[in-house]
């Protein structure tokens, strides 16, 4: 990959895509330094503290729509995009849905947990997720009593969050459920109810003793199958799906040598040649969040994020409401005829929406990056350069050029039968540039990351 494409690729995968001018700015820092900065923002503020203060009074975190709006705002505007991307990844991994939790504030708290701990030790994150109030409601932890152990969390923590099916037996589920008995909620907070905790001896995955929930989670976090399974999930999310074991091996090794430090596993991934390989480029279908947020960011958009919530739900991703504890299926499942039409409709609405006095929700001319184009071909090339790294097949490009060159019949009539000149007729430039962006966001290529 040439440096500019490689940087844009990194910003799409480790964030929600570049904003206008961001690729050049980051190139000045260099690829490696950008990776380090994404992983360790340290001194960099996410730039949202003041926003949080200002909108604090406008939003009600007891309302899930407000919590969604707040998160989408962060995805669009955060100066620490990888933090939000990890929050997004863990939301899909430890998939918890408002449909059952019922309490939006608990969903917000879980989201903050992913934000604050999502790049640290997996074992630490797992311990906190197991005590997270939304999770305790979601997987019936609060119904887990000594006399009637509830196996819901015990099963899913193994099947979905750590070691995966085939690594445990039903007896392990029952023993783990006993270990988690008494992990309850009180006043919407984690509460260890000692009188409901089973203190008897247990045998779990070959370990014996008076194991409690923490012990079970430690055993799972240290389990070799967890290293492989979660590393594979990270690779599939950030690089490409279904990696071969030898490709994955160095990253599993990074996990082992750091005892599951997510930051170090990702550093190894981003800096590896495979991350920047041809196979990785546009190897993934963008999730609705990546598609929508990426489009808004690339166009310097100020579209009201509130609208975006329902648009994304119609594309199949209702944030804070995954369809099951398995999360979203993702990949090719994102694209169906109806969800693809929703993407096309979004492309139409973001390019045509109007604010007061004709102000725009996006700035179409940002795609020119300061250059003044003189021909339809140059208009298309600049826009494709900005939105698609300049990588688009020639036939598709020609279809776009033909669109820009096709005169609007209404405008021709107004001009007494003469074809309008796109470079001198500002109305035609506005029409065709918005239409062109609508089309580029609708290309098959833009659906891929």
């Amino acid at each position: 990959m040439e440096p500019r494409i490689r940087m844009a690729h990194l910003l799409r995968r480790a964030g929600f895509g570049p904003a206008p001018g961001e690729v050049e700015a980051r190139l000045n820092e260099g690829f490696e330094q950008t990776v380090h900065l994404l992983l360790e923002p340290g001194g960099v503020s996410d730039g949202l503290g003041e926003i949080d203060r200002q909108i604090g009074g406008l939003l009600d975190f007891n309302n899930i729509e407000d919590v969604r709006t707040w998160w989408i705002y962060r995805m669009i505007h955060s100066q620490c995009p990888l933090i939000e991307k990890m929050t997004f990844l863990w939301h899909g991994h430890f998939a918890t849905a408002i449909s059952k939790v019922g309490n939006p504030y608990l969903m917000y708290l879980q989201n903050q947990l992913f934000r604050e701990r999502g790049l640290g030790s997996f074992g630490d994150l797992l311990q906190r997720v197991a005590r997270d109030p939304a999770m305790l409601v979601w997987l019936d932890g609060s119904a887990n009593r000594k006399a009637h152990p509830n196996e819901n969390f015990a099963r899913e923590v193994m099947e979905l969050f750590t070691i995966g099916r085939g690594q445990y037996k039903e007896a392990d589920v029952q023993e783990a459920a006993r270990a988690f008995s008494g992990w309850n909620l009180r006043d919407d907070s984690f509460f260890f109810n000692a009188s409901e905790h089973d203190v008897g001896p247990k045998t779990f995955l070959g370990h014996e003793g008076n194991l409690d929930g923490s012990d079970v989670l430690n055993i799972l976090a240290e389990h070799p199958a967890t290293a492989e399974r979660v590393t594979s999930k990270l690779f599939s999310f950030f690089v490409y799906e279904n990696p071969e074991p030898p490709t994955l091996a160095p990253f599993v090794q990074a996990w082992r040598s750091t005892r599951g430090n997510i930051r170090e596993v990702l550093r190894a991934m981003f800096l590896s040649p495979v991350f920047s390989s041809e196979r990785a480029f546009r190897a993934q279908v963008k999730s609705p969040a990546e598609f929508v947020i990426g489009a808004i960011r690339s166009l310097g958009g100020t579209i009201t994020p509130r609208q975006v919530v329902s648009l994304m739900a119609r594309m199949g991703q209702d944030l804070f409401n995954p369809p099951s504890v398995k999360g979203w299926d993702g990949g090719k499942a994102w694209i169906s005829t109806s969800t693809l039409f929703e993407r096309l409709n979004f492309a139409a609405s973001i390019t045509t929406a109007r604010g007061p006095k004709g102000t725009s929700h996006i700035e179409p001319e940002r795609v020119f990056e300061g250059v003044t184009p003189t021909t339809p071909r140059q208009i298309v090339d600049l826009a494709v350069g900005h939105l698609l790294d300049g990588v688009l097949s020639e036939p598709t490009r020609q279809a776009l050029v033909a669109y820009v060159e096709t005169p609007d019949p209404q405008r021709m009539k107004e001009l007494g039968g003469k074809s309008p000149s796109i470079t001198s007729d500002t109305r035609t430039m506005d029409e065709k540039l918005r239409g062109l962006i609508h089309l580029i966001l609708s290309t098959p290529d833009f659906q891929l990351s």
Binding site: S324, K332, S338, F341, L344, A348
Partner: protein
């Protein structure tokens, strides 16, 4: 001008990807067509209407003769002038007058006391129970209608799904009732949402936009690449054009009332008359969560339901399709018998539902509620909702219900042979 199923498929080409398809494989376009398979349920369709929010079954099918009814509901109870008697114990809400007529004609089944064991009062969980037909709905996120769509009578000779095997109508994504493990089911808010949208300021540019989209997605054979997204996109553009053509060919003498539900039912009638092969439709009418000031709200909603469904069935009759369509309503739960302090009712348990259509075996099913015998303030369930589903699957679609629902839901027979 009607468009036939053959024309729909023929003009789409033999490699039409199922509408809503994930596009993983081009399907053979259901070349024979669901309509022409010749099976016992050939050409039959089901329209499922969700009454979201928890419809008050007791004020829908009213036990007016039970002395506890007015006592427990001093403000919410319906007076005799507000209902239409079905027999000496039960009456329909007066807003359901069109349903009362169909009851007299023997084409409306009223099923009372429908619910499930250990009912949950959460909207979300109980809705999930009804939509998955599982009492532990989060274990298996597939819908009962989705599983029915996927059902293969003979796995050795898999039946190819039709282009529009099932369709969810409404915003907010596909209803979980239609989640199918194998068959992709589309949902659409309206035909407009399933069409290319031009800029409102430049409507004359629509043709150029559509041409460019077609070229980008390779409608003319070029260009290749970007694999399956392109394939799905081609199918989407083509299906959109075909659907619009199908709808353009529809005409009707029936006037539908003005309501969102009626608009959706008319769209279904348009698709049915165009014979695109859709077997299952799901629509939602919301607003039944009547915690406060219940009477005017519920009256309005039930009127929308009965008038909309009635117009829809009249329309189908005029097109000679009334014997091929059945309508089923459901709601996640009924409401508490004792009214609350806000002239409303809170979440309850068992409720009542309707099955209506020319081939429905009309009448009353399930025992009349006995308000002297409540469980936790609720009417206990007498009919498991899955036995209603079982009758729909077995008697209407002629597929073995136990393969979709599990065994033990026999008992109801809601359709005439």
């Amino acid at each position: 001008m009607g468009i036939t199923r053959r024309r729909f498929l023929g003009s789409s080409g033999a490699t039409l990807v199922a509408l809503g398809g994930s596009g993983l494989l081009p399907r053979m376009a259901a070349a024979l067509g669901a309509e022409d398979t010749g099976g016992p349920a050939s050409g039959r369709s089901l329209v499922v209407i969700q009454l979201a929010g928890g419809n008050d079954g007791l004020n829908t099918v009213v036990p007016y003769a039970d002395p506890h009814y007015p006592k427990l509901r001093p403000t919410v109870a319906l007076s005799e002038s507000e209902l239409l008697k079905l027999d000496e114990r039960l009456g329909l809400h007066a807003a359901l007058a069109p349903f009362r007529e169909r009851f007299a004609q023997g084409t409306l089944a009223v099923v009372g006391g429908v619910g499930y064991p250990n009912p949950d009062r959460s909207h979300f969980l109980s809705t999930a129970v009804w939509q998955t037909a599982r009492l532990d709905p989060y274990r298996e996120p597939t819908g009962w209608l989705g599983r029915a769509i996927d059902f293969q009578p003979d796995p050795r000779h898999p039946r190819e799904p039709a282009a529009l095997e099932a369709l969810g109508i409404g915003g907010g994504g596909l209803t979980p009732a239609l989640y199918a493990p194998r068959t992709p089911v589309p949902s659409l808010l309206s035909l407009d949402a399933f069409s290319v949208q031009p800029d409102r300021r430049y409507p004359a540019d629509a043709g150029a936009l559509r041409t460019a989209l077609g070229a980008m997605y390779g409608e003319n054979g070029e260009p290749a690449g970007a694999g399956f997204v392109r394939q799905v996109g081609r199918s989407a553009l083509r299906s959109s054009d075909e659907l619009r053509a199908a709808v353009a060919g529809y005409s009707s003498m029936v006037t539908y009332p003005k309501s969102g539900l009626s608009d959706q039912l008319r769209l279904i009638a348009q698709l049915l008359t165009a014979k695109v092969g859709t077997r299952i439709f799901h629509v939602t009418l919301g607003g039944f969560d009547t915690h406060a000031n219940q009477k005017p709200q519920q009256r309005n909603l039930l009127a929308q339901l009965a008038e909309g469904v009635s117009a829809f069935l009249e329309d189908l009759k005029a097109h000679g399709l009334d014997e091929r369509v059945a309508v089923l309503t459901y709601s996640e739960f009924g409401r508490r018998v004792q009214e609350n302090a806000s002239a409303g009712t809170d979440h309850g348990a068992a409720s009542s539902l309707f099955v209506v259509g020319a081939k429905v075996a009309g009448g009353l099913y399930g025992p009349a509620p006995d308000l002297s015998k409540l469980e936790g303030g609720d009417v206990p369930f007498a009919v498991d909702f899955r036995s209603v589903y079982a009758s729909v699957l077995r008697d209407w679609f002629k597929i073995p219900a136990e393969r979709i629902l599990g065994p033990n839901f026999a008992g109801l027979q809601l359709f005439r042979a």
